[in-house]
Symmetry: C2
Subunit: 201 residues, 2 copies
Amino acid sequence: MIRLLLADDQDLVRGGLAALLSLESDLDVVAEVGRGDEVPHAITAHDPDVALIDIEMAGGDGIEATAAVTASGAHCRCLIVTTFGRPGYLRRAMEAGAAGFVVKDTPADRLAQVVRRVAGGERVVDPTLAADSLAGGVDPLTDREREVLRAAADGASVRTVATQLHLSPGTVRNHLSSAIGKTEVENRYAAARLARERGWI
Amino acid sequence: MIRLLLADDQDLVRGGLAALLSLESDLDVVAEVGRGDEVPHAITAHDPDVALIDIEMAGGDGIEATAAVTASGAHCRCLIVTTFGRPGYLRRAMEAGAAGFVVKDTPADRLAQVVRRVAGGERVVDPTLAADSLAGGVDPLTDREREVLRAAADGASVRTVATQLHLSPGTVRNHLSSAIGKTEVENRYAAARLARERGWI
DNA sequence: CGGCACCCCTGACATCTGTCACGGGGTATC
DNA sequence: GATACCCCGTGACAGATGTCAGGGGTGCCG
């Protein structure tokens, strides 16, 4: 019997996955949580073999949760199950110690197979996604550029961002200009959009 | 027996919902589609009583699909099941003739009840969402403002938007300025963000 | 009919943005 | 030590943006 933990902030999706996986005789959903930061506690409490974790969640994201589980040295292996197949997500998830990464577009009947392979010790990655990740290139932004871009992403002015990050307005503009250059777009918003799409911020 | 159609572009979610609903003895999932524009055809082919439709989908959105079903005069009733509880979505869905609207945060065991009530002829709306919709106010934007805002949302310059919509650059700027004023924010991007959040664009 | 709201356009203005050249300071690598 | 990054800052410039005050046109409604 493979013991499973589900982490997803949407009740219907979580319930659906539970129903789906429970159809398999060798899989047993032993716990469900709706927030990323509840994952470590649930793992110590229920000792699952595999944790299926979403990335975008209300309380703490799934990559951080995965990193926490990895750091704790728990027996449980983490399988990321996410909506967005962003190359940056994949890379960051693997760095955080994830044992698998699939998108929610995966055919439903294949999920159980993936879970079994992960439980068996394999690393399972969505093949098309892995190709994208290799082809799409890596994040060219520096830490500061990412930070500034993130702060400016939802329409904050230079002055606001500068105050927020304790920087001079000129410096903020320089970082933004650099990010715009690296992403080869016209302005900060397009740059932020692209960076988000690629999973860089 | 209540016959169901599922429309969601994510295989795992669709499969999960199917598994979840199939646990109920009076519900029967007779068809599944992964695109909004396949909904009308699937309805004529399988004659379901209730269609569970997502909004954000790859091929044609769920509100358009609902409108098409309503226009066709089919016996089938549409229940929107979506990730985002945006007031604008709710309003537009109801205008398109939806018989129900729930978010994916809904507890899994309540979905079957909602489906039964919709099948029985009731209109079922997420209560907190309905409150938001009434309190949050209506879309203050004009058709043109919405259009211009949408075109400018992902970082296009004024010139680009103007060419795209066959307008003068000055006119575009006036529309944007007006939208910025109505949304009470600082710039077009924040305005677009807010409009998207509210479901206006 | 007169308002009223929307649409389209113009021109002008202050401000914000994106870019460039330039400087100084820190750290890691060879 | 030289080199190469990265970080932070300045000053200056052209161009984009947001705002305002106009002008005409349409259609709707009291």
